[in-house]
């Protein structure tokens, strides 16, 4: 059953990654006709993603919290036993990064939904980029850890 929750966690993470990457790249884009694939990827309505990113982040975070105890019991102890303390360290960073991004969500939502888009562009860019990098980091580290020892 825990594998089901882990896969669900990954699917929500994938949706979140798509949404936050669309938005994170759009916030740095200068207005121009979108011709290439990457331009079309970036030429989206950034504010439209804010609610989705917040909801997806919360769901993914909650699912991550739910599967965390089995990780500590089954995976972390196995990694230590195998002398893979570097991978344990990567996961420790992942959990801290997840919390930092969680704490940024209210600010992130505020700058996308209540502040006019013509104002505070720098802050909006910074906050969105931090959340985007956090989501990417956590997905890649989670994938590496899952490959080393999965939850079953």
């Amino acid at each position: 059953m825990i594998a089901f929750w882990d896969v669900l966690h990954a699917i929500f993470a994938m949706l979140l990654l798509g949404a936050v990457t669309h938005q994170g790249l759009s916030v740095w884009r200068k207005p121009a006709p979108a011709r290439a694939f990457i331009d079309r990827f970036r030429a989206v309505n950034g504010p439209g993603y804010a609610n989705a990113v917040v909801v997806l982040y919360l769901v993914t975070f909650a699912l991550g919290c739910y599967i965390y105890p089995p990780y500590v019991l089954d995976v972390k102890s196995s990694l230590f036993a195998a002398g893979l303390s570097g991978q344990v360290g990567l996961f420790q960073i992942k959990e801290h990064v997840a919390v930092v991004a969680l704490a940024l969500l209210p600010v992130y939502w505020h700058y996308w939904r209540t502040v006019p888009l013509t104002e505070d562009t720098g802050i909006r860019r910074f906050v969105t980029t931090v959340i985007m990098v956090a989501v990417w980091w956590n997905l890649v580290v989670g994938h590496i850890l899952n490959n080393t020892k999965g939850l079953v």
């Binding site: 882990d6 896969v7 990654l17 798509g18 079309r40 989705a52 899952n146 490959n147 999965g150």
Partner: protein, 153 residues
């Protein structure tokens, strides 16, 4: 090295799943998308513009999967068989077959999206795209579950 290739395989698969899911939802919608909802925005795309990206991403992901398949055969499958996890091993067999069938389907997929004289084949375009999306999702989920059971060294 297998781990790097596996992670890359997974990330390319995420991009591929995003592209084909956008496309198939846009293609199969029966009513105009509600623009202000998440699902509406997911569907409210120009489906045709994804065809090249899907074809290229599929080919790259297939190639990466074929490279790491040797490691799977050496490390994972013997483990599954020794642990009597035959359903998991069989699921991977379906994954490899569906990946190959998807590769064979790509020319028809590309044809129905990109050949300008064939715009009247909307039904075929719908079913070919749906079939390809099914292959991609199935392979992603099976790959993830298999990776949970035993990763590549």
């Amino acid at each position: 090295m297998s781990t790097v290739l596996l992670i890359t395989h997974g990330l390319v698969a995420v991009a591929l799943i995003g592209a084909i899911t956008h496309q198939v939802l846009a293609l199969w919608r029966t009513a105009p998308a509600t623009p202000n909802t998440f699902f509406g925005r997911l569907r409210n795309v120009r489906a045709g513009s994804y065809a090249d990206a899907v074809a290229i991403l599929y080919a790259i992901d297939f190639l990466l999967g074929a490279i790491i398949y040797a490691s799977y055969r050496l490390e994972v499958r013997p483990y599954l068989e020794n642990a009597d996890l035959y359903i998991a091993a069989g699921s991977f067999e379906t994954k490899e077959h569906l990946a190959a069938l998807g590769l064979g389907l790509l020319p028809a997929y590309w044809l129905f999206w990109k050949a300008p004289a064939l715009t009247n084949h909307s039904t075929e375009r719908k079913y070919v795209t749906l079939l390809l999306a099914f292959y991609i999702w199935w392979n992603f989920l099976v790959g993830h579950v298999l990776n949970n059971i035993h990763g590549l060294p």
